[in-house]
């Protein structure tokens, strides 16, 4: 059974998209949500973390764990690319930090536009939660008694 949190255990031994990139090899559990949902919200979480404290990509990657993101859910590549993209769009601004040990870090901080967009995300996430809540209500009503 694959590591997918929604997989209720069928046959094969992989992780949906992650270890099977071609149609023919897809997980027999038929559940392919993989790591593709939450990454859509990734920008929101990055902005929230940066609004608390300016940091660099590597640390952000680790901080995401505190939100329930697992290593399997997010790829470092995705984070670095999001951050560069957000800088292009003026949501964050970066400077190189060569102090401290190890390789240079690219320190990111929120811009005023970034704060605006973070606020927009809060609106959207509140809305999405309502919709998802409706889903669960209907699902629970549907399965009540039958299990």
């Amino acid at each position: 059974m694959c590591g997918e949190s929604g997989c209720n255990g069928h046959k094969s031994d992989h992780g949906g998209y992650r270890q099977s990139r071609y149609r023919e090899e897809r997980c027999e559990c038929h559940f392919e949500r993989g790591g593709r949902l939450l990454p859509q919200y990734l920008q929101a979480f990055l902005l929230l973390l940066l609004s608390a404290k300016p940091t660099h990509g590597y640390e952000l990657m680790e901080s995401l764990g505190s939100f329930g993101f697992t290593d399997q859910n997010i790829d470092p590549t995705t984070i670095y690319r999001h951050l560069r993209r957000m800088e292009e769009d003026g949501l964050v601004k970066s400077t190189w930090d060569t102090s401290g040990a190890g390789p240079a870090k690219r320190l990111y901080g929120l811009t005023p536009e970034g704060e605006d967009v973070l606020q927009s995300w809060a609106v959207v996430i509140r809305h999405d939660m309502k919709i998802l809540g409706t889903f669960l209500e209907q699902y629970d009503r549907m399965t009540a008694g039958s299990r």
Copy 2:
């Protein structure tokens, strides 16, 4: 200002992805979530609707409104493609319905695998809601007092 639910009103007059497909024309409100988040959950909602009653794509499209999906959020194309894909994967099964007025309808019904996957979605959505809840908690704590 664009129609995006998260757009808090800046300058340009479009809808993020929807009316601006090229980088150069992107919405100046910097908020581009567009209709791209909820479509990720679309399979879940389609399975839920089909578990209540077998129907066809066009009706499913209209039923999604009852969940809070707006016309702007979902494209008919996406639904039809999802349904065909789900049939390929054995989650649903279709038959042509030529009775009744108008063009033929492709009637979809859930398979046992489809029911399993619907259950998986419930698990995942419950999990995602927790994560999104944490986001809002942190955000509200962060903005408490400052507005």
